[in-house]
Symmetry: C2
Subunit: 205 residues, 2 copies
């Protein structure tokens, strides 16, 4: 129970959740590891192994009860609650994030948006007022925000990150095309479309 779960397994749980939700929507009640594996292009053995870290979640001979497994994974990932998210930098990407409806029911809600441009501050996006980046401290504490998305230009990303960390942010989704320096107890995930495309072009010869 107390064992450390490998990061790579945690990384697959959200994918399991996504296909389980789809199956549930389609009216399915049970799913076997093989069935799930085929939908994700991974082996059934791997899915069983991954899930076994969290207890005996399936029924021999039957498979996994979808509704139960969804609830279980939501618990494991701590998304049986809604996390408030701050978005910093309301350019195209920040704007898209603020309006993104893929967060609904997946555990997250953008509740604060920031920019440093005086012309943007005070205007609204999706019913949220863009706040001045100077108000970071106040808003983060008031809204009890622990996760932030950095969508500023690369030049501003590190200093914005430093402010976020200083104000208690523990996890960052970084869209700026640089590696962010953060303390060991702060987590960062990177999203950079150019990086993803560069992986693809290798194989296009």
């Amino acid at each position: 129970m107390g064992e450390e779960i490998p990061k790579i397994i945690i990384g697959r749980l959200p994918l399991y959740l996504r296909v389980l939700r789809r199956l549930k929507n389609e009216g399915e009640v049970y799913a076997s590891s093989q069935e799930l594996g085929e939908m994700l292009d991974i082996s059934g053995a791997q899915i069983r192994k991954d899930l076994s870290h969290f207890g005996e979640l399936g029924k021999r001979g039957t498979g996994y009860e979808i509704e139960f497994l969804i609830e279980k994974i939501r618990q494991i990932l701590n998304i049986n609650q809604v996390w408030n998210i701050a978005v910093v930098g309301i350019g195209d990407v920040g704007h898209a994030l603020a309006r993104y409806n893929g967060f609904v029911n997946r555990g997250f809600k953008v509740t604060a948006i920031f920019d440093s441009n005086e012309k943007k501050v005070g205007t609204e996006v999706q019913g949220l007022v863009i706040r001045d980046i100077k108000d970071l401290k106040e808003v983060i504490h008031k809204e009890d925000i622990k996760i932030a998305a950095v969508a500023t230009p690369a030049s501003a990303a590190q200093s914005v990150t430093d402010s976020l960390v200083e104000n208690g942010i523990k996890a960052i989704l970084n869209y700026a095309p640089i590696y962010l320096k953060v303390p060991d107890d702060v987590l960062v995930e990177y999203i950079d479309p150019a990086i993803h495309l560069q992986k693809l072009s290798y194989y296009l010869g």
Copy 2:
């Protein structure tokens, strides 16, 4: 030489490229594997091992010549050319992609944008006219497009993908929150902010 390079190594090359470019901008001429490793939070040994797959690219006692290594990695990744990109689905995400300037100088250029909404078709984004999705075939061939980004709603993503594949697209950057079924010779990379956030929230207890 003829050996297959592990996918995980190819995945790191774009990151190496990014820090090398940064060092070059800062006026540096040489970088050691340890220095690069510290900037990326990986070991120098791993960087040396990765690069050794492509020849003897460094100088013992000195490190790697930055400009040379950048050029070499660009060659390996096939981004010493510009790939035309099609973006399908011009909602917030598609719009952000069309206007994204992080592609410049990194090997890619959005040259065609598509939507199925008649009200959007014909309007311009970043100097590009939104084309009807029915014109996929014509435009893809005319512009010699091999890579596409899918930024449609989940419900349309698979059928759009099928059309793309039918028309010769070999690599897809998928923003729709579903797993896409494609033939073995077509590559897909996935970007889903909710999935990334779910990985983070696990660690927030």
